[in-house]
């Protein structure tokens, strides 16, 4: 039985844990938390680039889950339902903080944030040399608008139409900002590698 079907620790299946959690069973809540905490926390951490805030948002997302679990009807996978709820919790927080959740339109983009065009001489390729830690740091350094789109698409696997709905932008804008986010990440990774190489 996989994690998706088996809640850790007490032998409850996810479906059983959901039904028991709907009745207010505290152990079932804990089982669901253990089953989904990594995915939710990682999402919060990638989107905010701040571990304290990610912990706070994880807590908020699960409390919201437990408040609303009675409305879960099984029309989608529980993990999908929970994940979407978590994304909304994070986006709501970003909006409250005044951070750009909706990607900047081309005309509003600052020159500093925009990735540079790549028309010059070829650089050594990154491929094969991007490790997880480097990428994680580069994502943290992305401007918030780019970071949201990149995390939702490339890390969490949302489609552009879903992202457009979640963050409230057009599909074209989501595509365009994703490309710019990737280009910006490439630039950040190259800079990082160059700095590393320059160290004695």
């Amino acid at each position: 039985m996989t994690d998706a079907n088996k809640a850790r620790g007490d032998g409850l299946s996810e479906a059983e844990a959901i039904e028991r959690a709907k009745q207010g069973d505290a152990e079932a809540f804990e089982a669901l938390y253990n089953l989904h905490k990594r995915r939710v926390y990682s999402l919060c951490l990638r989107m905010t680039a701040n571990s304290a805030e990610a912990e706070d948002l994880t807590q908020e997302a699960f409390l919201q889950l437990f408040r609303k679990i009675g409305t879960f009807r099984g029309e989608s996978a529980f993990s999908t339902w929970l994940h979407r709820m978590s994304v909304n919790v994070v986006l709501m927080r970003l909006r409250k903080k005044g951070l750009p959740v909706v990607p900047l339109e081309d005309t509003l983009e600052t020159e500093d944030e925009a990735p540079k065009k790549e028309l010059g001489a070829p650089d050594p390729a990154l491929a094969g040399s991007v490790d997880r830690l480097q990428l994680q740091r580069a994502i943290e350094a992305l401007p918030p608008g780019y970071r949201s789109i990149f995390v939702l698409h490339d890390v969490e696997g949302y489609e552009h139409n879903e992202i457009a709905e979640l963050v409230g932008c057009s599909i074209g804008n989501s595509k365009s900002q994703l490309h710019k986010a990737r280009m910006k990440l490439r630039e950040l990774l190259k800079t990082s590698r160059a700095e590393k190489a320059a160290k004695p």
């Binding site: 990594r38 409390l63 997880r132 890390v155 990774l189």
Partner: protein, 240 residues
């Protein structure tokens, strides 16, 4: 196709693949080739970050504390709610109206006239509608009694209740009103009025026999209340 043209459609190429012309440029251009391979590497490595972090135990501890607080609040609300069970007494009007309606429907029989005045009048303790006549009667009797006890002889006749003839006339008018609308109900109302008049008569006698008997006074007032209610029902002025 040159590099600028290629890079304008780069996003589509990364996510969906390119045309033959784009593929051809890619094979011949190391700059664009390097770019595509870097972006694909970034995108591919990104998925490995999904669910890669473990939250601190503090997160569950905080959630658990909140859940316990919620549970405690819910338990308190439930406990308070249970204390509300069966705490409210309906007004006697509810049963009065119900009983009269049931009698009219023939669903319950006329009660045998209880010789125990107490048991009957216990149902008619209503403070909201005290017939003036009953008050005057009781007051009159009390004054008369006090007059007897004091030295001064004040000729205060016990205030009579609405005289038998007045009461009968009123009853007749009410019964005529009932008969004009629902003739079938007239006999029921007539029976109800006979019963209540009999109780009034008994209660009046009790009060006159002992004007200080508060219980008897209460029964008398209740009897008048019942009669007033029957009038109300008969004249379609039942309470909401």
């Amino acid at each position: 196709m040159n590099c600028a043209e290629f890079q304008r459609v780069l996003a589509e190429i990364i996510d969906g693949g390119g045309s033959a012309e784009q593929e051809s440029h890619l094979e011949s251009c190391s700059t664009c080739s390097s770019l595509v391979s870097d972006l694909k590497a970034i995108s591919g490595q990104a998925r490995a970050l999904q669910a890669s972090e473990e939250p601190s135990p503090r997160v569950w501890q905080a959630i658990d504390r909140t859940l316990q607080q919620w549970q405690s609040d819910l338990d308190y609300i439930a406990e308070q709610a249970r204390t509300l069970q069966a705490t409210e007494e309906p007004s006697p009007r509810v049963w009065n109206s119900l009983e009269i309606a049931l009698r009219q429907e023939g669903l319950i029989r006329q009660p045998q006239r209880a010789r125990s005045v107490v048991s009957f009048f216990e149902r008619w303790r209503m403070a909201w509608l005290v017939p003036v006549a009953a008050t005057l009667l009781v007051a009159g009797v009390i004054l008369s009694q006090r007059g007897d006890q004091g030295g001064t002889q004040i000729a205060v006749r016990p205030q009579s209740p609405p005289s038998q003839s007045t009461s009968t006339n009123d009853d007749q008018q009410v019964l005529e009103a009932v008969a004009s609308r629902t003739p079938a109900a007239r006999d029921t109302y007539a029976a109800n009025l006979r019963n209540v008049n009999a109780y009034i008569h008994d209660a009046e006698q009790s009060v006159q026999a002992d004007p200080n008997d508060e219980e008897a006074q209460q029964y008398l007032m209740s009897a008048y209340e019942q009669k007033a209610m029957i009038y109300d029902m008969a004249l379609d002025r039942s309470l909401p």
